[in-house]
Amino acid sequence: MRRRALKTMSLIAAATVALAACSPDDPGASFKTLKVAYQKTDSFTALDTMLQAAKQEFEAANQGVTVELQPIQANDDDYGTKLALALRSPSTAPDVFYEDTFKVRSDVDAGYLLKLDSYLEGWEDWDTFDDGAKAAGRADDGGTYAVPLGTDTRAIWYNRKVLEAAGVTLPWEPRSWQDILDTARKIKANDPTVIPFNMYAGKGTGEGTVMQSFYELLYGTGSSLYDEEAGKWVVGSAGFQDSLAFLKTLYDEQLAVSPAEALDANVWKKVFGEWLPNARMGATVEGSYAPSFWQDGGSYEWPGYEQDMGVAPFPTQNGQAPGAVSMSGGWTLALGAETKEPELAFSFLTTALKEENSLSFTVESSQIAVRKDVAADPGYLDANPFVRDVSALVSVTKYRPATADYPRISVAVQEATEAVVTGTRSPQEAAADYDAAVADIVGAAKTVRK
């Protein structure tokens, strides 16, 4: 009996040794692999196309190097989570990855991103990048950690047919919040069944609520979310209350969607796929990428959207300078801080971001160009009739204060809008709740009353 036990043990031990021997060897000097992580969805394949092309070109030019593409199928939020989880451990961290501009700062804090300054010096194309866009890849220490792929702006997208039917002069150019309300009321009076002017609210649409609705209001009052110079969060501003009050008016007068629809996370699909194409909605605030949904191969193909839709800058509260307001996000390519092949990884990044690759990516995904040569290319400017208008908004656009506390603050803003449009709190109360929430999140010492 004892002998059998010993035999079993030795068998198990032998199996363990044998299995351990199966683990892959350390890749030799002549054989290198670059891991590239990025987002790919049914409606977002432009980046995949771009990286596939870069992979072929790069592997041909660098013998013995394999580029391992790792597409992650997920929406923006889940992609961010999966990427962060992969970055946590050096053994799973990709060498090159697709990174949201508003995560750059906190990921630099976490030590996930490689500082690129020394590499960028030797890359002549870097000078063709727009200065505003370059700032998106810069961290608190002044170093650059990410190279922008493209950016976006936000504007009012309106259905010309609906506005025409209501007797609004086209092109529509609202100069103040009052203009928006007047036009919305006019549309409602003409046909009570259409949704005159939608702006997102509540936690359902998440970051969309703040980027495509609340911040256009807030930054148009002259107030802001964050005092960059002092490094403090703004509380108790009149602009914050005014912005909430404007949303309340829109929802109370049923000029926007119903509160129940607003809180549905899928409401934007109806805006793009149903209400605007079927002329059931007058206007909405959306990103410059809106045409990517309607063009050939988009998720909600709409032949003729070029004629039916119009675009207008979102006005400031009372038309004060600069007259319009927009918000920008955008994505970058970055290198993992622990990459074993920084030179090679950077070289792949430059291949991926060359002029021709950038151009086709920017056009296919309806982005706003960040390379000056791409921005001047006729292929870009004529991609759809709205490119010039939305690109011009870069001059008034704002970026989110993307600190590590930002995701929580953003949710506090979303909660304030939700409380107001559902009628559970008045704008004043909701603003006070927000102030308390901010003090709770960052500590009272990091807030400033303005």
Binding site: M1, R2, A5, T8, D77, T81, A84, L85, R88, K103, S106, D107, D109, A110, G111, Y112, G202, K203, G204, S258, P259, A260, E261, L263, D264, A265, A404, P407, R408, V411, E415, E418, A419, T422, T424
Partner: protein, 293 residues
């Protein structure tokens, strides 16, 4: 050659050793890791991502002052009690009892219908439930067809909607357990009770129920723990909203850990969930241990 008694005793456990090791690595490991992380300020990104520091019970203190946490515990209890202990359990028992009486055809049709919801992958079931309850969903179209008013179920009654969805999805399990249990009740005993003059209802309450009480307890334990952990259904249908009105503990833990990147706080919520599950588990195990009457 003979072994000392203790060594022989130990040797007997050898075959279960791999199973125990697997359990330790894949079950106890993550639980311990979660508990450890809940005592740190580990984050998904930001300064504390790579080098989390020890914060002791700070996360748990924060739980006590967080207004969402007590609400979330209450919602979890309501969800488990309403949709598992009452909904799935009683409906499953009722179906099992009725199916014994029904004609084979009726019984087969009902059984298949109920089990169909159960065999769906959770994500598919969740989308089906979302499509059913949403604003333009099937339920509202049915109500509209009957000339009744429409309701925004996921907005006005989010908990009712997710509880009904969970009952729909989970009843099959209880039904199957009870059908098996009822088949084990010897016909002679029931007949003997009938001879003694017990009516249908009395036979059920005093003969059948006591004889299947072990199945009842086991079933309750399984569905309670399953329902405590339900995440996908709630996340897809309401994502915890509106205004946290359906944020059960798993949803809260997910939001904190992954949406806000605060893994320390998220795992603290998860640890509380584990403790609640453990409390339920212990209570049921005690019930099972009680001597037979």
């Amino acid at each position: 050659m003979r072994f000392p008694a203790t060594a022989r005793q130990l040797l007997r456990y050898l075959p279960v050793l791999p199973a125990v090791l697997l359990l330790l690595v894949f079950l106890a490991g993550p639980v311990l890791w979660a508990f450890h992380a809940s005592l740190t300020d580990a984050g998904l990104t930001g300064r504390s991502a790579r080098n989390p520091s020890w914060v002791g019970l700070e996360n748990y203190q924060r739980l006590l002052t967080d207004p969402v946490f007590p609400l979330s515990v209450l919602l979890t209890v309501v969800f488990v009690a309403g949709s598992a202990v009452l909904g799935q359990n009683l409906l499953g028992l009722a179906l099992a009892v009725l199916m014994r009486r029904a004609r084979p055809l009726v019984s087969a049709v009902v059984g298949t219908t109920v089990v169909a919801a159960w065999v769906l992958p959770e994500i598919v079931a969740a989308f089906a439930a979302y499509a059913y309850f949403s604003g333009d969903g099937t339920l509202n179209q049915l109500l509209g067809g009957l000339g009744l008013g429409r309701q925004d179920w996921l907005y006005a009654f989010p908990m009712v909607a997710v509880m009904l969805a969970n009952v729909w999805r989970g009843t099959a399990f209880s039904m199957l357990v009870y059908r098996a249990a009822l088949n084990e009740v010897p016909a002679e005993v029931t007949e003997a009770a009938q001879m003694d003059g017990a009516h249908g209802w009395q036979r059920f309450a005093f003969i059948t129920l006591p004889m299947i009480r072990w199945s009842i307890t086991t079933n309750l334990m399984l569905i309670t723990l399953q329902t405590l952990a339900v995440f996908t259904l709630v996340w897809v249908m309401t994502a915890g909203g509106p205004a946290n009105a359906s944020t059960t503990l798993p949803v809260l833990a997910y939001q904190e850990a992954f949406k806000f990147g605060d893994i320390g706080y998220g795992t603290a919520v998860a640890s509380v969930l584990i403790l609640i599950g453990a409390a339920f588990g212990l209570a049921y195990v005690r019930l099972l241990r009680e001597p037979r009457p």
